[in-house]
Amino acid sequence: MTYLAKPKLHHPNLPRNKLGYTRRDYEGAISTLCAGCGHDSISAAIIQACFALDLPPHRIAKLSGIGCSSKTPTYFLGNSHGFNTVHGRMPSVLTGANLANRDLIYLGVSGDGDSASIGLGQFAHVMRRGVNMTYIVENNGVYGLTKGQFSATSDKGSKSKRGAVNADEAIDMVGLAMQLGATYIARSFSGDKEQLVPLIEGAILHQGAAFIDVISPCVAFNNHDGSTKSYDYVREHNEAVNFLDVIKFRDEITTQYAPGTLQEVVQHDGSILRLRKLHENYDPTDHIAAMNHLAESRARHEIATGLLFVNGEPADLHAAANTVSIPLNMLDDKALNPGSAALAKLNAALR
């Protein structure tokens, strides 16, 4: 029995958000992942981001593939519908769900095996279609659930726990998302909650395809010396390009910064992405420059993190399909059925 319900006892003094929910209202069942697994930190960051954004939990749909990472939606947002689909195919299910109801918030959770190996095709196509979603890859460089085989994001030359050396080139999910037209692209580290939470918030507010590659060490199979996805290695090689503050539409702007160190991107919904520059020349709205920077930092074996690219005015799949504003799953017979008179006319034209 692996289902553990959390007792729903609310401390009367727990802070509440604008909807009156406490952080507990965004939690799920107790995690059954290994203690110290990076994925649990990402779940916590998702909970924090949804709480901070005052999202009604039931208006979020969480979808995942198969893997330890894909199991995590059970451990957050217990009041949201969730769908644990098949291995590597969450993107298509999410796309269909999004088409059915454009009003919900879609959260796709996946692993590096799920998205970079078996699901690379669907990953590519969901990005190029600009599905309005937040897509998080919990990237540990291994197949955790099947016990430690190399995944397609394992760096060339990195060592498995048993000492095998990976001979294949790694797939860089961020680089792929860049090429494929995702309109909000970030990378972070499960161990850096301060950086990760606002990146998730910004992604959720983004009205297009938002992708976050979160390096998330697997303590059971990929946290040893020689791994490039271990806590130590990532801490040493992490190069944040900026720090994000998300200012929701309606929120007042209070803090002041020295000119030149700050860049603001206004998103379609009115939210403002305020970036404190940590790398002086990095401009995440400049697609080509961002791609160049990423290639350079990769060559230097640095892991560039932060908000790497954003287009404040993205177009999404519904814009391309020109669908009505009312969700398709709410259209009734009257809106959908042409009726018998139209059929009689059609019959007449077929004689």
Binding site: H58, T74, L317, N322
Partner: protein, 621 residues
Amino acid sequence: MKKLAIKAVNDFVIKFANVNGSGSASANTLFAKSILRMGVPVSPRNIFPSNIQGLPTWYEVRVTESGYLARRGGCDFMVAMNPQTWDKDVAEIEPGGYLFYDSTRQMPQSKFRADINVIGIPLTEIVNSAYNDPRQRQLFKNIIYVGALSALLDVEVAVIEQLIAEQYKGKEKLLPPNIAALHMGRDYALTHLDCNIGLKVKRADKVGDQIFVEGNSAAALGAVYGGATVAAWYPITPSSSLAEAFAKHCKKFRTAEDGKARYAIVQAEDELASIGMVIGAAWNGARAFTATSGPGISLMQEFLGLAYFAEIPSVIFDVQRAGPSTGMPTRTQQSDVLSCAYASHGDTKHVLLFPEDPYECFTFGAEAFDLADRLQTPIFVMLDLDIGMNERLCKPFEWDDKRQMDRGKVMTAEDLDAGKDFGRYLDVDGDGIPFRTYPGTHPTKGSYFTRGTSRDRYARYTEEGDAYVDNMQRLLHKFETAKEKVPQPIIHAAAHTTRFGAIYYGSTSPAMHEALDILRETGLHLDAMRIRAFPFSDDVLEFIAAHDDVFVVEQNRDAQLRTLLMTEGAISPAVLTPVLHYDGTPITARFIADEISQKLKLLHVAPLHSVSAKRVGGENK
């Protein structure tokens, strides 16, 4: 010596051999439709090999006053417009048949046959002297031969003119040149040819209010009337035109006043993604479908198991073709019966519907969405190339405006607030079907986690064996419920009591009906049952039990429906005699009648009463 010449009125097969892309398709349809408008049923078929040089296509029209819409086989009149397939085309003509060809270029005598009647008309010469533009020469050549055929076969020219006028409604500028071309061909034939040939069309009143439409288009229209809003597909012959027709119908019927679409269609990256999108949309409360063919079904296997187990309503139109893999991609078969019935790994069974013609493609197409929602499971609508991609005469479509979508068991926010017990996999009323909620229904109640992994009645993850068995048993029970909800079989009882029965389904219908007539005329009587869905209702088992021998007529090699009957109905193989046609061409009445009468002979069955071998549909010699 007087040459043999086939003589027949309103009962012959004419075949057009063309080069793909020469604009012949619309001229050929015009020809077929003009006969229909004269009240004489026709049954045309497109034959288009997928990869032969020169891109030949054939259009075969059976003119049949008796209304036998199956393929007859053989050819009485060949319109040979493709030099590359000349030899094959000439060889195919029945002795005493007719060869109509472009006589501009001299053909050596060896290229003809002594036992056929040759009608040459210098088509190229006529168009070259009438038109300068090569495109016009190409297009009008087709209309010119239609004109010549009208003279030879007595097709009323006013009817053709009327059809052309309808075709160019709104583009009236194009009307006069087409009419002129029509008469150019007709006049040439009347003045230069002996139009007194043996094949004639004569006005009748056998068409009535029937419509003439492709099954794929009808099924797509069914999806519109069935309330489908999301379609995801990956191109594959012979199913692509279904998705394309859905787009066309939606544009017409589902565009809001402000130009926005009340539907979404995605051309996915493959069939895995197509079915994934359908599942996602249906999970989220939209009616969704995909259209595919056998290879696509193979790719969808894992997802179909998930949809079965997670109980996601979804509709799959499978327009079957000859397999395996690319097998004969442009040829028809009924060979996906088993791969659909048991699609996926683990224990799975799926609901299949077998439409016989475009009318049922429409009704089943719409019905499939109610069934999917009601049963919360994938529903397969099993078309095939023969009904999908050919225009077929059928009953006009009907719709009852009082009818509403049956969205099945869906718990609303009000239900949840009223304190109704929600268990996603809980059978509350004994039909095996649980309630579901759409995502986003209620802030604190009714959410659940959908997974392929096993879970208890309240959707909580568990690997307990008892909970697994409990759920699998409920799914079986749900499948029992499906038996009464799906379209029921139809029996055609023989005029005389008989020990013999025949079971058939889908596009085999017209050939079977004609075969039953042929057999009856030779004194062989069979009760026939048309199966319209799987799971089989009890009537099917009773029908088999009521006969000593039942022929199961199918268009595949392995007797797939027979296997399904044996497995699901625990029926002895000895009672079910397969009649199998699987060369990729549509099954014919001649084939069925021959097979059954031979098999009956082996069983020493004497005809009940001998009827002098009367001429039956299609025997023209």
